[in-house]
């Protein structure tokens, strides 16, 4: 017997988007790392450099790999944007961690090189220390926004658990209403269903339970519904 197609529950993962969003997160992390390392190479030579075809005499040529920074920044922005779009519902806010990671890592560079500058310079370089403090403040700020995000996810799970039995009952009722009537009801089967209908629905519920889409309580409630008993 062909059952009407049950729409997937809201939480059903879409693995294609999962993979794409995780790849985007990895590329964004790679870009932040490249910017971090590229910045350190420039700070190793004093914090400024020049290269290319210029009429001026270049005092400090840029080290190898400096070009990585202007490439990695836009690529990282695109990757972070792609993650925000592709992430599962409610998790797009994790993209704020890219901002935090970028500014905390660059702030660390400023502080480390500001306290202990390379080369013959002595003592703290206050310009870099101030930049470091500012960058750390800018990076740590959005972490405060992640806390409500995590609370929201936790509350969402609780709400889903509380409303899960009702949602499952609605889905089961919809399937039962949409199913064509069985030609001959077996004695003892509720609502004129054939035993095969009941068995196939019980199997489907058991599969949902095994997969983790239904909690134990939701599963028991839905099973009682299918068997024609009164749900609480």
């Amino acid at each position: 017997m062909v059952h009407p197609r049950i729409p997937p529950p809201d939480g059903t993962p879409r693995y294609g988007r999962w993979i794409a969003s995780l790849v985007a997160a990895g590329v964004a992390a790679m870009c932040i790392t490249l910017v971090f390392l590229s910045m350190r190479s420039v700070m190793d030579v004093g914090g400024s450099c020049a290269s290319g075809n210029t009429p001026f005499e270049i005092a400090t040529p840029c080290p190898d790999g400096t070009w990585v920074m202007p490439v990695a920044i836009p690529l990282g922005v695109v990757a972070a944007g792609a993650f925000a779009v592709l992430a599962p519902a409610g998790l797009g806010g994790l993209v704020m961690l890219a901002w935090t990671g970028l500014f905390l890592s660059l702030g660390w560079n400023f502080l480390e090189y500001g306290v202990d500058p390379p080369g013959p310079q002595d003592g703290p370089v206050w310009g870099w220390v101030v930049c470091g403090v500012l960058f750390v403040a800018m990076g740590a700020g959005p972490l405060l926004a992640v806390v409500p995000l995590a609370r929201g996810a936790r509350d969402g799970i609780r709400l889903r658990r509380a409303g899960g039995a009702e949602a499952v009952a609605r889905r089961v009722a919809a399937v039962r209403a949409a199913a064509p009537p069985a030609p001959a009801a077996a004695p003892g089967a509720p609502d004129g269903e054939s035993p095969r209908d009941v068995v196939s629905r019980l199997e489907r519920l058991a599969a949902l339970h095994r997969r983790g889409d239904l909690t134990g309580a939701e599963y028991e409630d839905a099973k009682r519904l299918v068997l024609g008993e009164d749900a609480p």
Partner: protein, 33 residues
């Protein structure tokens, strides 16, 4: 998203970020020789 799926996604997210950071280090080492 079920609690199990949420936990799995966050775990994979952490793995992806770590893998990206490692890849960034290796790529930079290749670039600068």
């Amino acid at each position: 998203m079920t609690p199990r799926a949420l936990r799995l996604y966050l775990l994979l997210f952490a793995v992806a970020v770590l893998a990206g950071a490692v890849a960034g280090h290796r790529l930079y080492a290749v670039i600068v020789g």
